[in-house]
């Protein structure tokens, strides 16, 4: 057994995996939806059409519920590197620490400086300033994702550094920042946040149309959403394929695990080009106990040639091999979801082309709407499985080929590690359960179609609240829901 699978090291991995997995539930909506909210706000300001305003304010409520959870779990992340992986943090500090420092100063704080204005600034600052605040939240959260992917991409393909005196010292900042994995990994993650948020829009819209509540309003939203998805979903598949080839090039052990590819060559000496649809891998025996194989597909996928050589697991020492089960199946789930979502986008736009994307038509054949509601959950699973593939595929290294995971683990015992895990399971589930409960509350309540539009002339009279003294500070988003 490799050291990474012994109890204290395995627990430290679980500790970190759990808080990261729970954190990534929130950030995609913050990153992706802030752009969508900005577009809705601009659409409202440009066209003066109140519908965009109502939709913006409605989705903003969901955004707020999500945002608090994202920040709360994000503060943990910033500290967890040092707490759980102290020696790792020290060794990678010259590069990784700097990048995390960049992230807090140019992104985390940037976002915090405008989120208050975006959420509570309605009516307190001008419309233009408000739209500008929304834009800044969108830009800053995307910047945040960029820096995090720089740091994580570098762990996958560490370039531009030299290991000296136990520290990874930077020799070239540009090659370290624009490391090969980041260049494709960041677009893949960023597009994922947009795709997830668009499906969030689509799923909520589908639910309202199904329930025949504000059906026309949400059909109005569904059209541009599906149009955006017909571009985003195939683009994501294309970038995903590029990333796969990048991993094949820079991280062959991870690729071999993702594809359950044990033998570089077949017994007759020819390259093994078989792609495993499903398999029962056995890492210790170095082979698949069972698999359904399609010849040439693996070479086509990874080398774009008919029978190019793809390095298999047998090329690497047993203690350099990652687990195969998780990357193999997680990867397949992610890819299947990617294609399914592409088909949903195709279907929706096909309906639109035939003039059937109206509330009336859609309700007559509710299968599309039901599948669309279901599709709202799938991107979350795809993000999870994608990251599990990425992180478990990199094992047993924390910095690929340079620092083993056990070399980075903090000085802590099994008791402390278990305490962390159990505590975080309780708190993160409280956050998760709470957020989902309040998502459903907000969705069930539906958009507020009655309170006056911010900045309109009857707004002041209305917000005095029926004889109550007018509070100088109101929470405009939560107004008038008595």
């Amino acid at each position: 057994m490799i050291i990474e699978d012994t109890l204290p090291v395995l627990l430290s991995r679980l500790d970190f995996a759990f808080i990261t997995s729970m954190h990534i539930l929130w950030t995609p909506v913050t990153i992706g939806m802030s752009w969508l909210l900005f577009f809705l706000e601009v659409a409202w300001l440009k066209t003066g059409n109140e519908h965009w305003y109502r939709l913006q304010r409605f989705f903003e409520k969901l955004f707020i519920v999500n945002f608090g959870a994202g920040v709360a779990t994000g503060v943990t992340m910033e500290m967890a590197f040092g707490i759980l992986y102290g020696p790792f943090s020290q060794a990678v500090g010259p590069f990784f620490g700097n990048i995390l420092g960049f992230e807090t100063i140019t992104a985390f704080m940037y976002e915090a400086g405008f989120i208050g204005l975006m959420i509570f600034g309605w009516g307190k600052i001008g419309k233009g300033m408000h739209a500008f605040s929304t834009f800044n939240v969108a830009l800053s959260s995307s910047l945040s994702a960029m820096w995090i992917l720089v740091a994580n991409g570098w762990m996958q393909s560490p370039t531009g550094i030299v290991l000296k005196n136990g520290l990874f010292q930077v020799t070239n900042w540009w090659t370290a920042i624009f490391n090969p994995n980041f260049n494709i990994g960041f677009p893949h993650m960023w597009i994922a946040t947009v795709e997830l948020s668009l499906f969030f829009f689509a799923a909520v819209s589908a639910w309202f149309i199904l329930k025949n509540r504000h059906a026309d309003l949400f059909t109005k939203l569904l059209k541009p959403t599906l149009l955006a998805l017909i571009i985003i979903t195939p683009l994501q598949i294309f970038i995903g394929d590029e990333l796969g080839r990048e991993v094949a090039h820079d991280q062959p052990t991870s690729l071999a695990a993702m594809e359950g590819h044990f033998h570089t060559y077949l017994p007759d000496g020819k390259p093994n080009t078989n792609w495993n649809l499903i398999a029962i891998p056995d890492v210790s025996a170095g082979k698949n106990l069972f698999s359904i194989q399609i010849p040439h597909v693996l070479s086509l996928l990874e080398t774009h040639t008919w029978d190019g050589v793809v390095t298999g697991m047998d090329h690497f020492a047993p203690n350099d091999r990652p687990n195969v089960w998780v990357p193999f199946y997680a990867f397949r789930v992610m890819v299947a979801i990617g294609f399914f979502l592409f088909l949903m986008a195709l279907w929706g736009n096909w309906l639109r082309l035939r003039g059937k994307l109206t509330a009336e038509h859609l309700r007559k054949n509710p299968l599309f709407l039901r599948l669309l509601v279901f599709s709202g959950f799938l991107p979350y699973l795809a993000v999870w499985t994608g990251w599990w593939t990425r992180e478990i595929g990199r094992q047993p290294w924390v910095v690929y080929n340079l620092m083993r995971t056990w070399q980075g683990v903090s000085h802590m015992g099994v008791t402390a590690e278990s305490f962390w895990l159990i505590g975080y399971i309780i708190f993160e589930f409280m956050v998760w359960g709470g957020a989902w409960y309040f998502f459903t509350r907000v969705i069930q309540k539906g958009p507020d179609m009655n309170s006056p539009v911010i900045g309109s002339s009857d707004q002041d009279a209305h917000s005095s609240g029926g004889g109550m003294a007018k509070p100088a500070f109101a929470k405009p988003t939560m107004n008038k829901q008595h």
């Binding site: 503060v75 102290g86 208050g116 505590g423 956050v431 109550m468 929470k475």
Partner: protein
């Protein structure tokens, strides 16, 4: 080579000062928010608690983020300190983070909740209390320093491990942070937070509002408690911290001036508070924090963690510090500017009715 060392030491000291500034901003801003949260536990009306929450609704996230910025700067400029110290502080930071998580989600959930409203109101106050208490404990523990070794942190030995005998890691155990002094600094943090929080609420609520009246009374009580806590902490620190010997060394005159500045600020804070000049009282309270934190930072010099990590030993290599300085320094005033703008937008006094507004 000498040049490089000089640059390294200059840049390290620069980031050490900036780190102190970020911590001070964090303590002044979020200390007030956390303290107001602790005070909210004393309010027995859920709508009043909601009013306290809406008083900081637009700014709490940015205020809390200064802690993240401080953390990011430690990681970026002093990663060796970051990796060892956070490892040492695992337990107190874990609790503080749970407090921060509870408080953060309570902000978003409380306004939407109906049947669970009391629960989230409690989580807001209790989360604030836990965060302040354990942040104080972590600070006290840090001041006492910790033990380190250069072996593998998990005690795993292999041949030719490039990471051993280079960088020292934390080597104590999970409860090393716990001492009478660190528990005391936790309690002192609660007292200081209570003072800052109640002064802040005085500045945020209309002067005839019931919440204002309660907070005003509590602030008077907290200011006496805080004065006592400061005296106890100073005497205790002088008794146990080797670096505190500076206070009575050849530079005693400077330290005496600092002490007088603290006492004058405390006096000004209390008189302004009594005269209902709430914002001035809050600013003088901030001045006390600035003087005390500055004094602590100066006492520790050249250490960043007393008797454990010096600034130069814990800092990144010169090249990386230079990059951090080059790329990030310009953002600091920008960051401060948009924070001031955001606070300014939400400057108006409110009443307890803001708590009803959220429903």
């Amino acid at each position: 080579m000498n040049e490089i060392f000089r640059i390294h030491s200059t840049l390290g000291t620069f980031w050490w000062i900036l780190l102190g500034v970020f911590f001070v901003i964090y303590i002044v801003l979020d200390g007030a928010d956390l303290g107001a949260g602790v005070f909210s536990l004393l309010l027995n009306n859920e709508n009043d608690r909601a009013a306290v929450m809406s008083s900081m609704a637009g700014t709490w996230d940015a205020n809390e983020t200064w802690l993240v910025v401080a953390g990011g700067v430690i990681f970026g400029a002093f990663p060796l300190v970051y990796g060892a110290t956070f490892n040492y502080l695992m337990i107190p930071l874990m609790f503080a983070l749970w407090g921060i998580i509870s408080r953060a989600v309570a902000f978003e959930f409380h306004v939407l909740a109906k049947s669970s409203r009391k629960f989230w109101g409690f989580m807001f106050g209790f989360g604030s209390l836990i965060a302040a208490l354990f942040a104080g404990i972590a600070l006290g523990a840090t001041l006492l320093g910790f033990s380190m070794t250069t072996g593998n942190a998990q005690g795993i030995q292999v041949a030719n491990d490039p990471f051993v005998n280079t960088v020292p890691h934390f080597s104590g155990d999970a409860l090393s942070f716990l001492s009478a002094f660190s528990v005391w600094t936790g309690i002192a943090a609660l007292i200081a937070g209570g003072l800052a929080g109640t002064l802040y609420l005085c500045a945020r609520f209309e002067q005839n509002d019931p919440i204002y009246l309660k907070a005003h009374k509590a602030a008077t009580l907290f200011s006496f408690l805080a004065l006592a806590a400061v005296v106890i902490t100073l005497i205790w620190s002088y008794a146990i911290m080797p670096d505190a010997a500076k206070w009575t060394g050849s530079g005693w005159f400077g330290w005496l001036i600092l002490l007088i500045a603290i006492l004058i600020s405390a006096y000004k804070m209390m008189t302004n508070h009594a005269a209902h000049r709430d914002f001035s009282a809050l600013l003088w309270c901030g001045a006390i924090v600035v003087f005390m934190w500055g004094g602590m930072w100066a006492t520790n010099f050249p250490y960043i963690i007393p008797q454990t990590w010096t600034i130069s030993a814990g800092a990144n290599p010169a090249n990386d510090l230079a990059i951090l300085t080059l790329f990030m320094t310009g953002f600091v005033p920008v960051m401060i500017t948009y924070n001031i703008y955001q606070i300014w937008v939400f400057r108006k006094r409110i009443t307890h009715l803001a708590g009803y507004e959220s429903h």
